[in-house]
């Protein structure tokens, strides 16, 4: 097959050229079959660089282009556009990554150049077999689904609703608010969390464009960008939301009153079986806890809640319902869970009374919390010595390798609050202090001046010595081993992925990173998109982050969704798999392999079928297909092998 190929080798300033001999690649390329012009240039992605390609396409009648530069994830769209502008199909381009794969990973100039030549040769061989393919445009449904009603989901939902577009906000708990609603004060300004969150929660409730589903979970997602079909399971609240005024009479009347550990109070307070999760709950409606309601569980109860409710809102006949929604975009804001420190007996959690988690401390110090905001020990006395342990379950090879990002600052905040409310000595055990945000370092300095003892060393063990709670640590600044007796230990635990995140990732067809958090498209340049086009991430479900970052990402995800809604259409990648019906034997091996649920089985024809609009072109099915009936466009067997042969060939 004769093609006219132009090869362009980018220096990327000195990023590539410092290690790889770009001129030598161009020279080698000029000798290869089909190559009519090979050049090297300082910055191929610059305007003059792109113009070079455009000019050559015209002058030399180029039919294919190879750019040897950075990762295609960086500039493939750029150069595709360059080709399109010169009248060539954008998919007649192939890139060789000689930066990330060569110059950035080697100091050996000769070896790096040799590898760069091999990769470029592979690209030249491959591009000959490229086929022009066209991107598809699909219309976009203007509604957005936001999953999770924490601050990330609230921010995203409000942003979109305020732009005038409909939003469905789905929250699995009876109230929105998420973890932020449980916090006391927020660093670095010490604003009360409720004071800044509650108005936003109320806005959600009042906004005409937002339809809120609480006690609800997404159970199925079908379709593709712009046209998702979603099934939401709305669990019964057993309370008529229209009738309930949130007065709390049922809660007081419940026979289980003060007998069920409250989730909101992290087990430090008790609630009834019919309850309002917290005073600022949105919607401010009671809900019956199926697991603990005597009537629902055993069928036997005097139903004093029913008698107490003047509005006759309690309705034990309510049943679960499935609501079907159609949306154009989905924002996942499913948040995080708190690491359970009882898995490590060395921290004494669950063993000693006065070892608590950071989230429990948030409740204790909160004016509406179980102690009315007083920092007290289990026996009701005031602590005299308080230890705050950083990195419990974070930055720890045995649990989670990552840094949870918020604990240093929240620990500093805890120290400040203890100091403010008691006369206790406060000891912070840290590995490194990470106070990198706006006004964070200043806040840390302020708390240092308040006389908090900062000990550089991880709190390795919490034990009891002579009846006294003691923290053991190696003080790495002093180089000594220390045992510090205290009477309250606050374990600042890691933020971990939700326990159902595997299930959620499957329902929405998004990937997870090694840490278990959802995987973004690009860690730096596209932290809000996922590999499933039209599905965005916001907040801690992507990675641990503080409130400012969460809010920013919530807005960013909303902007992503709004971009498609505003134009009314999106282009989808033309790279997709297809089944050759003449070859498919209906073995069904591929059916379970598609992460995007693009494959169905045609029972009449007895063959697999791929919905091109849903297919993301990942190639899993093509690799799986035992008969070779499935091919993935732009990644055909012939193209891949031509590339491999080009890379492996000598000279």
């Amino acid at each position: 097959m004769a093609e006219n190929i132009g090869v362009y080798v980018c220096h990327c300033g000195s990023n590539i050229a410092a290690v790889v001999d770009c001129e030598k690649i161009a020279q080698a390329a000029s000798e290869w079959d089909n190559v009519v012009i090979a050049r090297d240039y300082k910055y191929m992605c610059s305007d003059p660089g792109q113009n070079l390609i455009k000019k050559d396409i015209e002058e030399y009648g180029l039919t294919r282009v190879v750019v040897a530069s950075c990762s295609p994830r960086m500039h493939e769209p750029t150069f595709r556009k360059t080709l399109e502008e010169a009248g060539l199909n954008g998919y007649l381009l192939e890139m060789a990554n000689i930066r990330e794969h060569c110059s950035w990973v080697s100091k050996d100039k000769e070896a790096a150049t040799e590898k760069a030549i091999a990769l470029t040769r592979g690209a030249v061989r491959r591009v000959v077999l490229h086929q022009p393919i066209k991107e598809r445009e699909v219309p976009v449904n203007k509604a957005t689904l936001v999953v999770g009603g924490g601050i990330a989901g609230i921010q995203a939902a409000l942003q979109i609703a305020n732009a005038g577009y409909p939003v469905y906000l789905v929250e699995k708990k009876p109230s929105i608010g998420g973890h932020m609603a449980q916090f006391d004060k927020t660093f670095p300004t010490l604003d009360c969390a409720a004071c800044i969150l509650t108005p936003k929660m109320v806005d959600v409730d009042r906004n005409q464009n937002i339809k809120l589903f609480t006690c609800s979970e997404v159970v199925e997602v079908d379709g593709y960008v712009g046209n998702f079909k979603v099934k939401v399971r709305k669990k019964p609240r057993y309370v008529d939301e229209e009738a309930c005024t949130g007065c709390g009479d049922c809660e007081s009347a419940c026979v289980m009153k003060n007998r069920i550990p409250s989730e909101f109070e992290v087990g430090l307070g008790k609630r009834s079986a019919v309850y309002i999760p917290f005073p600022q709950a949105v919607p401010l409606k009671a809900a019956v806890d199926e697991e603990n309601c005597l009537y629902l569980k055993k069928g036997k109860c005097k139903q004093s809640c029913v008698d107490a409710c003047q509005r006759e809102a309690i309705d034990f006949e309510q049943r679960e319902e499935i609501v079907e929604l159609e949306v154009g975009a989905i924002i996942l804001a499913t948040g995080f869970e708190i690491f359970d420190p009882s898995v490590g007996p060395q921290w004494g959690y669950g063993i000693y009374d006065n070892v608590i988690t950071g989230l429990q401390f948030e409740r204790i110090t909160n004016a509406s919390g179980p102690t009315g905001g007083k920092v007290l020990l289990k026996d009701g006395s005031e602590p005299k010595k308080v230890a705050i342990l950083h990195c419990i379950g974070s930055r720890d090879e045995n649990y989670n390798k990552y840094c949870s990002r918020v604990c240093c600052m929240s620990s500093v905040k805890f120290a400040h609050l203890v100091k403010e409310k008691t006369d206790a000595e406060v000891y912070e055990f840290y590995i490194d202090m990470r106070t990198f945000g706006k006004q964070y370092e200043e806040f840390y300095n302020r708390v240092q001046e308040e006389g908090v003892h900062f000990i550089r060393g991880k709190g390795a063990e919490v034990t009891e010595i002579g009846g006294e709670l003691t923290v053991r640590a190696e003080d790495s600044l002093l180089g000594v081993y220390r045992e510090i007796p205290v009477d309250l230990v606050i374990l600042n635990t890691a933020l971990v992925p939700c326990s159902d995140s595997e299930k959620v990732s499957q329902i929405f067809g998004v990937s997870r990173a090694e840490s278990g958090f959802f995987l973004e498209s690009h860690i730096k340049l596209d932290p809000i998109s996922t590999t499933n086009q039209g599905i965005y991430l916001a907040g801690c479900c992507q990675s641990p982050k503080d409130i400012p970052d969460t809010v920013a990402q919530g807005s960013a995800a909303a902007a992503g969704a709004l971009a498609a809604i505003a134009t009314g259409k999106v282009t989808t990648s033309p790279i997709s798999a297809s089944v050759n019906e003449d070859i498919c034997s209906g073995c069904k091996t591929c059916l379970n392999m598609c992460a995007y649920k693009a494959i169905t089985f045609d029972e009449n024809k007895k063959v697999a079928e791929i919905n091109e609009a849903v297919c993301k072109g990942c190639g899993t099915c093509a690799a799986t297909c035992p008969s070779g009936a499935i091919t993935n466009s732009h990644f055909t067997t012939e193209q891949i092998f031509a590339q491999i042969e080009g890379v492996c060939e000598n000279g």
Partner: protein
Amino acid sequence: MSKLKLAVYWTAACGGCDVAILDINERILQVDEAAEIVFWPLAADPKYDDVKNMPDDAIDVCLLHGAIRNSENEEMARVLRQKSKVMIAFGSCSAFGGIPGLANFFDKKEIFERVYRESESTAGKAGVYPSPAVIVPEGELTIPEFYDTVLTLDQVVEVDYYVPGCPPAVDTIWTALEAIITGELPLRGTVIAGVKTLCDECSRKKEEKKITEIKRPMEVEIDPERCLLEQGIVCCGPATRGGCGARCTSANMPCRGCYGPTDHSIDQGAKLVSAIASIIDSKDPEEIKKITHLLSDPAGTFYRFSLPGSMLRRKRKEDVS
């Protein structure tokens, strides 16, 4: 019209393909009517020279079954190619290497060590290896050279058609013979068998491909209605060309893969590896390891008939970097 001149020859093979030709039963009379068998060592008693002395293209069609294992196999393949207008790789051995091709998981040295030294049945002096030429009091004796690597027929000579199977099923043979007799031969290079994989003609019920265990046929009572793979029995059907009539699976035994890969797959063994890997229903690496370890002889199972003709071809040679 003069009769069609037909040759049948075997190289590294078991002879089962010869018997399979006879299995067409009374239809052999139709073959006899249409064709004159000019060379068939199993049925007649020809000598090498008989065929060597023929003019080029004297044979209309040659059915050659067997892999190329030694220099004699190669020599005869070349001679027959020269004397034949149409060369057909008949049976899995000549088409993709077949059972003799499994020797490619070893090399000549290892095979000789095993056979002429280690083997429990080695009689006489251990460690005497065959050599192409040996001087004895009566003079020099020669035998063919044993190759390091088993080859397919088309790795030695040009092949016009392929008839796969170990042995080819009677219907497959008849389709080929009928095409030869009537002269209605398909496009050169065609594999005369099914186009789809075995699953298409296997009548077993296929529901969901998910397994948590790999079992050998003798370890379980096999459900005769359900897909064998879904019962945890490694069946090569999904990656194997059909056309055999699903003779194994209908006899409650898994497909062994003898019809080789389809036109659209390069490497049957690799396809089987990815197919089995795809249906293992676990995300836990330890559990996956446990399940895959239940499969005895994976290489021999996945490449049972196709190793020399596959992309893999043979085991890596240690002295080649």
